[in-house]
Subunit: 418 residues, 2 copies
């Protein structure tokens, strides 16, 4: 069963000047989950001839072409013009669309810049896709069995437009008579290479209709499994069989499925047990709090915390003892323990978590190298501390520390009786 | 002066299944710095017809094609075959090359897997590029003025091969008599569309040899200008002239150049003035602290802060008055002011910054909608508060609030006498 051919074209000179393309990872994952894998990706500079040529070629060999970027109001936003030229279609100014764009500016009492007029030009025959999070509307054009979608460049505008408007139309057009079932199993506390090895019996030579991806970041390993079959029922039952085999192999490391994140899994368990949490951060500087509060409604269980970057604050706000700081230092098991106990008391929460370490690039010594991190967890029974030691760049060390702190919380909550 | 056209093709189904392509960022940066900007990038699955077609097209329209991936020993490593087919060249087994590969295995007392024989096939006329860090040799083929380079997929093997063997050959072939100079000007407190309008006199019709890019994220707008000329001296002097014109147009918004970020610029100004800073965060949950501490050495001026997510902590740790919370609420100008004053006192710092707002998606009302954020800044003279009101997704509202807080700090520090 051969699927439709879908290509992605990302427009923006910045993608060819050092900026990492994260849209490709997001869109390819979402498409694979829908049983519509991406066949090719291209990144193009903001050059009319370049984009026009690439669109013409991609549209010739593919069923659907997805485009990101180049819909802004500025001189280098030329995706609309290039697609019009590639497909030999005229552009027309749509006063009603312009009025909608102007309304967004008036809401903030701003005059509409002359340049934003460009955003009200629509390719002949195209449907306008609403963009509630920015001024650039999307466009979707069908031509026979073929389809081309123009989406804005910023992730926060592109991803909701893709999920609400583009993906449903792709599914309707190309996924008939093909059903897919998708599962994403999320793991923590396990290295990617170990998870990979344990799952190799599935991934080395996938059975027809099955596909797998393994991805890792910030202490979390995600395993995606997609099954394509002729009916939803058979796709689902095959996926259910796969799911059991996946859990047999790596179930002990799994904390959730689907959209679950480490922080949302921690949040659910806290809420279910009626417990509150606070955080004391040194080397992560607020990053753990930021991740915990990325979950809407996290104020139900997260009270807040202390960023104790200086030793003075570790003493005054967290009551870490002078002896601990002078004898063992701020990056020590003792300090992590006292920070966790201290923040729990200062914030009046049931649990207190702490992070102290050496994120680098400077500050490392032979005894305490860059990458050394202590994580403390306190409750009314007492406190425990875990140690991490793996060097890396500053942001990598910090992200790993945050992941490990969330993993420790998760395991602690799992061990408690509900 | 038109430069050579260089394209990059990355081979690997994983790039179309959720893996982030970091080679593109690395190679495009290195090429741009050498005055050889990348014209296009493509990611291809491990499919013979797909790769063959893409190589044929890219080689036709470009001077040089760089390829990464698909040189391994396994069944899905087919870049060699695809390039041979695309260019109509035969492949030949090279016993001497095979002996070199076999020697690497013997060094680790391993038998040579049968599969690795594939790696000793070389495209007719190609030069073999040594790979000291893996078993896959690279290949470089010249055809008239054109060039195609095959490099291995793993970063640790690809990047040394690129730097030692591919980049020098590209420079020798295409960069003679061309030199480039590059400038990135970083701005805050200005909408991208306004910066763009002010710079349009340069960007609308760039002079020959000049190119421009404008990028925006998290409250920051970056303007890149690149000049290509026949000598380093003339490129530099033209860039110096451009720089003055850029500063005439948008200088008031510029906070730095090159690798400067909002948080590093704030840090420099604090350090220069010998001032310390602390932060009180509600809706950003630690994200402002995280950004301030992303700068190595930030402990010199950032003491830490309080994540006052709950009202109880706003009262107990920041001494926000009960009256303020009951009468105006936690999201109010009064509360932001008291949070900034409170954190300054609690942390004993010269400056205190605060953020309180409604990040959404829930919690908004008619009077206080999602996107309403107050930012407070306190010093020994007193405190001031600014208000933001722009809706968006949770993470966008939070990122904007952090950007605005850093911008407020920057402006405040600018106004102080050194």
């Amino acid at each position: 069963m051969k699927g439709p051919r879908i290509e992605l074209l990302c427009v923006g000179t910045e993608l060819l000047s050092g900026q990492v393309n994260t849209h490709q990872a997001y869109l390819s994952t979402a498409l694979a989950a829908a049983g519509l894998p991406l066949a090719r990706e291209g990144s193009l500079s903001d050059d009319l001839a370049e984009i026009t040529g690439a669109v013409r070629e991609a549209f010739k060999r593919s069923d659907a072409v997805l485009m990101c970027g180049g819909l802004g109001p500025t001189f280098d936003d030329i995706t609309r013009e290039a697609v019009g030229a590639a497909l030999g279609r005229k552009m027309s100014f749509q006063p009603a669309l312009y009025a909608r764009i102007a309304k967004k500016f008036s809401r903030y009492r701003l005059p509409v810049p002359e340049e934003n007029k460009r955003q009200a030009f629509v390719i002949s025959g195209a449907e306008v896709l609403p963009n509630p999070f920015g001024s650039a509307p999307g466009q979707l054009l069908k031509s026979g069995r073929r389809m081309i979608a123009l989406m804005p460049g910023p992730y926060a505008e592109m991803s909701p437009m893709f999920e609400r408007h583009v993906l449903p139309r792709l599914k309707a057009a190309y996924a008939r008579g093909r059903a897919t079932a998708h599962l994403c199993v999320r793991m923590s506390g396990v290295p990617e290479s170990v998870a990979d090895e344990n799952l190799e019996f599935l991934t080395r030579e996938p059975a027809p209709g099955q596909s797998f991806t393994i991805l890792s970041s910030g202490g979390q390993v995600d395993f995606h499994a997609t099954v394509t079959a002729s009916s939803g029922k058979s796709a689902k039952s095959e996926l259910a069989r796969l799911r059991s085999r996946i859990y047999e192999a790596v179930g002990e490391h799994v904390f959730g499925e689907g959209a679950e994140t480490l922080e949302s899994a921690v949040g659910k368990k806290l809420r279910r047990r009626g417990l509150t949490l606070s955080a004391a951060e040194s080397c992560t500087g607020g990053g753990l709090g930021r991740r915990l509060t990325a979950v809407p409604g996290s104020s139900d269980y997260f009270t807040g915390g202390v960023i104790a970057y200086s030793n003075a604050l570790k003493r005054s706000l967290l009551k870490v003892s002078a002896r601990t700081l002078s004898r063992f230092g701020a990056v020590s098991s003792h300090c992590a323990r006292e920070m966790a106990e201290g923040v729990r008391k200062a914030c009046g929460s049931d649990l207190g978590i702490s992070v102290t370490g050496i994120a680098g690039p400077g500050g490392g010594t032979r005894q305490k190298p860059v990458g050394l991190v202590y994580i403390g967890l306190a409750d009314k029974q007492g406190a425990r501390v875990v140690k991490l030691l793996r060097s890396g760049e500053r942001e990598v060390v910090r992200a790993r520390a945050i992941g490990a702190a969330l993993h420790l919380l998760l395991r602690h909550l799992d061990r408690m009786r509900e």
